[in-house]
């Protein structure tokens, strides 16, 4: 019997090592797998490459990972925010490398990795600083930039419900990058509010099929989250 559920966040991230490339779901805090990130911080690993839309908000999640000095490089679209002070400080101190990627290119490059493409020609960024030095091509009168897929060793994502085969459904806009990151990483670890019996998720509404998910951990929503979601 295949059961992908893990007893704890700590157990689920126990083989993430120094230097790993880790995708982290979420758009701001919506969909951010906070407890998985906490467990990753507790492991003490360093020199991570993090792929996330942002570069942390406030004190938790990706921000905490940066604050603790664990991130060598971040690939993201929107690092600078009113509460991105840990990233800002690390960036200004030269302690973190930034690869700034337009959000749609970020999504498309992650999706390309999950779909096994070798590269894509993307319309976004042509003629801008973010395409400087990159190969371009005109196709049917439109200019495109050559971009590689973004792969990762691990993806840490947050979903609403999961089952022992790894099938996932999400909640509202917390879905965001979860489904495509799950497809692009070698090992996808999903924290879910609830692990339900097999078959309880309607086969028509599964958003992430279990093939894309290697580990599932049930994490009850924290008091803070409940308050936020109230």
């Amino acid at each position: 019997m295949i059961d992908k559920s893990f007893v704890s966040a700590e157990a689920a991230v126990a083989d993430i090592t120094d230097g790993a490339a880790v995708m982290i779901g979420g758009f701001g805090t919506a969909g951010m797998p906070e407890e998985l990130i906490d467990a990753l911080i507790a492991r003490g690993v360093r020199d991570l490459t993090i792929i996330n839309n942002n570069a942390g908000n406030g004190e938790s999640g990706v921000a905490a990972l940066i604050r603790e000095g664990r991130v060598r490089k971040i690939i993201c679209s929107f690092p600078r925010q009113s509460d991105s002070h840990h990233f800002d400080a690390a960036f200004r101190a030269g302690k973190i490398e930034l690869e700034l990627v337009p959000q749609g290119n970020l999504a498309a490059r992650i999706q390309a990795a999950g779909a096994g493409l070798g590269a894509i020609f993307t319309p976004t960024g042509y003629g801008t600083l973010l395409a400087e030095g990159k190969e371009t091509r005109e196709i049917d009168g439109v200019h495109y930039v050559f971009e590689h897929p973004i792969c990762a060793d691990f993806a840490l994502i947050k979903a609403q419900r999961g089952d022992r085969w790894g099938n996932l459904v999400y909640r509202k806009t917390a879905r965001n990058f979860g489904p495509i990151m799950a497809m692009a990483a070698k090992i996808t670890i999903a924290q879910v509010t609830e692990i339900v019996p097999l078959g309880e998720i309607d086969p028509e509404v599964v958003v992430t099929p279990g093939i894309f998910v290697q580990r599932v951990v049930a994490i009850a929503p924290s008091a803070t989250n409940l308050e936020q979601a109230a």
Partner: protein, 211 residues
């Protein structure tokens, strides 16, 4: 000269959004446009973080922080709206499924180049988000901005000096003093606030303006 307030600018943009349009409103000033869309029109607001059919802000205390917009503010979902993942969301933008996007701007050129993501100042931390995707992907890109900086310089320019967001992507710029069409044929004044002539706009902006 009746300079438009930011809310008046938003109301002006809203007037140009037809029933049935799929619309993405950028962070900041463009978000205000949502407040002026007439209730009786079915207009579909898309948010880059994966929702279509975005409704107004919830009542205070009713926020759901897993139901947010691109600016990470709590929003609601209209009946008939839906959720989807990020690749599908940006497919909507990048392949021209979105009819209109409305963006803020540092500068717009008379040929429609847009600069709105980065001041290029030393030490400034850049952040681009979905701006580049929206600028080049929507069927029509509208810009909303004050026409002049605090220093009195025109943001409608012959060539952008700030780093570009996209080339030849803006079709129309709504400002507090006038509305301009921009593009391959240069800039044209669609309308100006009462008491402001085209010649005065030419002086203020320093760019060629067709009537």
């Amino acid at each position: 000269m009746n300079r438009l307030t930011r809310d008046q600018m938003a109301a002006r943009v809203a007037r140009d959004i037809p029933e049935g349009a799929y619309v993405n409103l950028g962070i900041g000033l463009p978000t205000k446009v949502g407040n002026y869309l007439p209730q009786e029109r079915d207009i579909f607001l898309q948010s880059e973080n994966g929702l279509l059919g975005m409704g107004p802000a919830p009542a205070p205390g009713k926020e759901d922080w897993e139901l947010i917009n691109a600016g990470k503010q709590a929003v609601t979902l209209l009946t008939g709206g839906c959720f989807f993942h990020h690749a599908d969301s940006f497919a909507m933008m990048r392949a021209g499924h979105i009819d209109i996007c409305v963006l803020g701007a540092f500068q717009v050129s008379t040929r429609g180049d847009l600069a709105n993501w980065h001041t290029g100042e030393p030490g400034a931390i850049p952040a681009v988000g979905g701006a580049m995707d929206l600028a080049i992907g929507a069927k029509q890109t509208f810009v909303m901005m004050e026409l002049l900086t605090k220093q009195g310089e025109s943001k409608l320019v012959e060539a952008c000096t700030y780093p570009l967001t996209g080339l030849a992507c803006v079709g129309r710029a709504y400002t507090d003093l006038a509305v301009f069409d921009v593009g391959a044929d240069g800039a044209r004044v669609v309308e100006a606030v009462e008491g402001l002539s085209i010649d005065e706009l030419r002086v203020l902006t320093g760019v060629p303006l067709a009537a």
